[in-house]
Symmetry: C2
Subunit: 696 residues, 2 copies
């Protein structure tokens, strides 16, 4: 009744609020432990260096640094390689697939959440070129899936709450909220979070859902800020600028004459981003072929950690970029070979978390870094970040891309300051920000959501226009060469993702060319043996239910007259509960199934192999009519590809039955059939490509 509807609606808000709170708490926990452990590590090493620089025992801190880092990464990679492989990487491609309607196993399990959270703390503490933002977004999604279902498969515990949310559709809505809350917590960008969810996942805008997602998103930032306001010692002072992720950009202005420079920065970012994606793509293919054993993965991660640490140490040793102490960007300034009262600039960049280094590049005074330092740092970090993304550790991509971009952006700023001296608008920090935006945009190719995320993270709306221009150029230039990194990795996972737009020039491709056939159909009253046999052989999710069809006849031109559609999950529950009729038409048992019996199994239905069906039972029949969906979406065999595409995209379908003029089933179209048609943008040329998609 209506009372239930009101209750369900209130429960939706409650769940979104809980998602926001928990995501905020988890994110602040990750923040806190990364900070704590990193401080301990850097303090220890800094003390040793300062002690050893005069006693020529620098090998001690060197060995200590390398081994501490490799040790932390060992933990991080064991969690991914041995405990939960889905906890690897940033998780954003997986979330994107999930929101797009493609389920990847174990992506939203609690085990994944725990491995991911602990893993990312150790991979950041291990000094890898990684960030914690991607994993935070993934965490938000897992939290959402967990809370909204009111039970956990990992702990085998069912709280018997929110049972009415146990459908794909509801769960996906909450996961959108969780992802938004994750972005919001990661960057302090609640609006950006909502846009991220929409841009990456939504096919169909819904006012009240968006408003709830916004709520989760805001609550998440709010919770994080409350926790951090305690940690930083200003309890409940929620407008404290220390809570702004990229630091406060208050006094930054820009001028109309800079617009060409913004466009140029965007273009550079697009080029570097495309290069990043190209090399990382090749590397990922290599990894899939050669680095597949668990132990090899762990060893690779440790090698990268060791080399990262070594390079950092060696560079600090050789490049002496000294600045006076006083406006130190880091809490652990290292003197190295600088004079007393000075510190080493390169060491400052390496001796803090990558996130803190991004802030340093954005906000340090104008002459803090020499061009040489920045160039070397950029080159090294660019290569390291390419190598790191795809390692078997929990690792975000945002911060390394931002840091790389901030380094070259600041370089651009320094050069501009030499060309246009004494101009108020030349500010290396601002250019570092724009370079960071350009580099990230060139790699991930997100549009409006990234613009808003970066703008919110700076806490300054007036930089919105430059950021937008830069991201637009970066996307245009990058798209000329290849796709965004997430799409590349989704393609490597061979997932049938549906594009935004129907492939152009495909309006002459008809349903009968796209569809799969023959189709396995079941008769309205079907033999149990045949159902069991077909379910064992096939992995399809839906089967048309038909009349006037003899599966054993040789001269079938169609697959029967269409009556409805039944899902694999439903058939499994029916088989398990043995809702059979004996050959005389009498019910074999008195089980009455309600919708609750279907829902309680969600989302893990029994395996067909575990359902025992006796030889006698195989001769029984099942009447599918009470359970089938009598009016699913169908499409005519003469419908064009763009029309089918719009149906899938607009309604979030997984399959559709193709019927002919006489209402007979002639085929089925699944996401996989559609995902075969892709538009390729390689080298500025557009090509309609038919891909091979293997079953994932």
């Amino acid at each position: 009744g209506y009372r239930f509807l009101v209750k369900k609606n209130l429960a939706r808000w409650l769940v979104m609020g809980l998602i926001g709170i928990l995501t905020g708490i988890v994110a602040s926990g990750i923040d806190y432990f990364i900070d704590l452990l990193s401080q301990l590590k850097y303090k220890l090493i800094t003390d040793y260096i300062n002690k050893c620089i005069n006693n020529s025992c620098l090998s001690i801190p060197f060995v200590l640094f390398v081994s501490l880092n490799a040790g932390a990464v060992l933990i991080a990679s064991i969690l991914v390689a041995y405990v939960e492989p889905q906890a690897g990487g940033s998780g954003i491609p997986q979330i994107k697939c999930y929101l797009n309607g493609v389920k990847i196993p174990r992506v939203v399990r609690i085990k994944t959440l725990v491995s991911k959270c602990i893993g990312v703390v150790f991979s950041v503490v291990g000094g890898l070129a990684v960030g914690k933002e991607g994993p935070m977004i993934h965490s938000g999604a897992v939290i959402a899936a967990g809370i909204s279902q009111g039970r956990s498969a990992t702990f085998n515990k069912d709280f018997r709450v929110f049972e009415y949310f146990r459908t794909d559709h509801e769960k996906r809505d909450f996961v959108s909220g969780g992802a938004a809350a994750g972005v919001s917590a990661a960057f302090g960008a609640p609006v950006g979070g909502v846009l991220f969810s929409l841009e990456e996942g939504a096919s169909y805008w819904n006012q009240s859902l968006t408003w709830r997602i916004f709520f989760a998103s805001f609550i998440s930032t709010f919770t994080l800020n409350v926790v951090l306001s305690y940690v930083k010692g200003h309890p409940w002072d929620l407008s404290n600028p220390g809570l702004i992720n990229f630091g406060e950009f208050n006094s930054v202005t820009y001028n109309g004459v800079e617009i060409p420079i913004f466009l140029m920065i965007g273009a550079i970012g697009g080029l570097f981003g495309a290069l990043f994606n190209m090399i990382n793509h090749k590397l990922s293919v290599f990894r899939m072929r050669h680095v597949y054993r668990k132990s090899t993965k762990v060893v690779e991660a440790m090698i990268v950690a060791g080399i990262t640490a070594m390079i950092a140490f060696v560079l600090m040793y050789f490049i002496t970029d000294c600045s006076p102490l006083g406006n130190d960007p880091t809490e652990h300034p290292v003197q190295f070979f600088c004079s007393d009262g000075e510190f080493n600039g390169l060491a400052a960049l390496f001796f803090q978390t990558p996130e803190a280094s991004v802030k340093s590049l954005f906000h340090d005074p104008n002459n803090s870094y020499q061009p040489l330092t920045l160039s070397v740092f950029f080159l090294v970090y660019f290569c390291l970040s390419i190598w790191t993304y795809g390692l078997a550790v929990s690792s975000g991509l945002f911060i390394p891309a931002l840091l790389t971009g901030a380094a070259w952006g600041r370089l651009v700023g320094i050069f501009l300051a030499q060309i246009f001296p004494n101009q108020g608008w030349v500010d290396p920090g601002k250019y570092a920000l724009l370079g960071a935006a350009a580099q990230l945009g060139g790699v991930v190719r997100m549009t409006i959501s990234l613009t808003v995320i970066i703008t919110e993270a700076t806490g300054n709306l007036s930089l919105g226009l430059p950021i937008m221009l830069v991201l637009m150029m970066a996307k245009w230039v990058g798209d000329y060469f290849n796709e965004g990194i997430y799409d590349i990795h989704i393609q490597l996972m061979a997932v049938p993702m549906i594009q935004w737009e129907p492939p152009p020039l495909s309006s002459n491709v008809l349903a009968c060319e796209v569809m799969s056939h023959p189709v396995t159909t079941f008769r309205t009253v079907e033999k149990v043996g045949r159902i069991r046999e077909k379910l064992e052989k096939e992995t399809h999710h839906g089967f048309p239910v038909v009349d006037e069809y003899d599966p054993d006849a040789d001269d079938n031109t169609t697959f029967g007259v269409f009556k409805g559609l039944i899902l694999r999950d439903q058939l499994l529950v029916l088989l398990e509960n043995k809702v059979f009729k004996d050959p005389h038409g009498n019910p074999c048992n008195t089980t009455k199934l309600s919708s609750k019996d279907f829902r309680n199994q969600y989302p893990r239905f029994p395996d067909i192999k575990q359902i025992n069906i006796s030889v006698h039972e195989r001769e029984c029949t099942m009447d599918l009519r009470p359970f089938m969906n009598p009016s699913p979406y169908t499409v005519s065999d003469r419908a064009s590809l763009p029309r089918i595409f719009k149906l899938f995209r607009g309604l979030g379908l997984r399959h559709i039955v193709v019927i002919n003029d006489t209402h007979q089933v002639v085929g089925m179209v699944t996401r996989k059939d559609l995902a075969r048609y892709r538009l390729e943008h390689v080298g500025g040329e557009l090509k309609l490509e038919e891909m091979d998609i293997t079953h994932s």
Copy 2:
């Protein structure tokens, strides 16, 4: 070919850019003239008052004030009543309908644009309780429709460009961009503009479209800022805080303990908003019944203008709220009966544009207004704004709502300052802002887009959370009583708008109950006479094409076997071009129609009454098969209402053919059939209502 696709895509960006630039220019023009004329008016009156206060000739400025205002409103209302009625009001309900797929005649004509722009200047200068924001949004939409079609019906000029955008779908996409650009120019809120377009119009999120809308939106703010930077004398200084619409809220902070206060403010806003909507609804019904003559409309507008001016003058005369000169909120401080060196606070609120008064309430120092002044101002302005919305003038609703809310919000702030003295967070200006947000939210019930618009207009992201909380409460409380003002006015226009969600508990309502029947169908080869006759009698937009159907038989149970769908517009073009075959099956003429012939007529197809068909020709036939859509979306007669609803909402359909199991047409579902089912929230009770919708 692909080359054409690339060109079309570039043209889309170009058009969006042009829309942004033109919208920005139009908006700055409106800004400029309102400012110029208002300054002239207020200067004149102020001079007279200052001269007369000692000479007891106050009747002169009084008469002058009333007559100047009434005169300006006379122009504004003539433009609406006599020139173009669609230019009345804010235009947002009309744009909402347009984006929802319902066409209202003349909404996006150039004539409407001109009337609206000139009209809004005079209605604001006329001192009415109106703002320019709604009309700016409408203007953006008209500009978009005009540019994207490359021709103007008002000037009967076809530039023969962008002909490939002459479809409903493309035009709607551009109008979304135009509306976003309008919001962006009106509030300096580019992201808010995009969200406005999505919240009010989109049914189906599309990454590249959204990105283009964002582009238009940003270009519009940019253009406006460039123009204003010249006007204000800092050319190209684009991050000048003078460009922030609500003034700069830099130093404002908030504290966790204020959260209950925010919620309370939201609730008050919801109550006042619901009251506003209720009274305005009754008033609008009254107006529809009694104020329908053009002259009465003009007289009513002038009466309201006169009374507004009189009340303002009388209040200024009687309420002596004096503050020292020096931090004057207005450019024309009026001394009235204050001592020398002081000015009258109430006069300050009335003697500037409503927008400037909003800024004054947000930013004036703490003791600028006495509680009595604010209470009286709130009461008066609340009543005036209810009376004004719906007058036959071009008038926005945002600013009056913000101003009313700012008045009571500041009052709340003053009381809080007395209860909690010496607390850093008590700032009347901040509470004025939150009150303004609450009042506006209570009236319009927008969600995420309004949050972002207000946040962007303050230029301070840290106020995002309080604004969101306030708007959430305001919407919840307001929705308990009635709908948002725009939805109320859309209902009064009797437009079949489709809701966001399928009506709950309607899953047992089947297509066969919802659909309209009998259906007019045409045979694949149909007599010209019958087509003509049916088109004259019926106003439907689409007709099923069928086989095996005898329209004259009495025993038809269905309307033939479904073959395709043909649109009214197509039939009109076919009739006009006389694509007939004589009774022997020979073509009557040699006209070959291409898709261009259909497109060139768009969007104004010939009237059936103007097409001459001879008696001889009526016996000819038309073969519809080459022109019909052979595979439109169809739905089974057993499909449930929510399923049909999703199809309409997700795909933006206008009609769908209902077919039975044997592929025969049994009915059609149109938007009107769906819009009948509405969920009513009256008094917290949910009711499924079947409305009467008359044809608009």
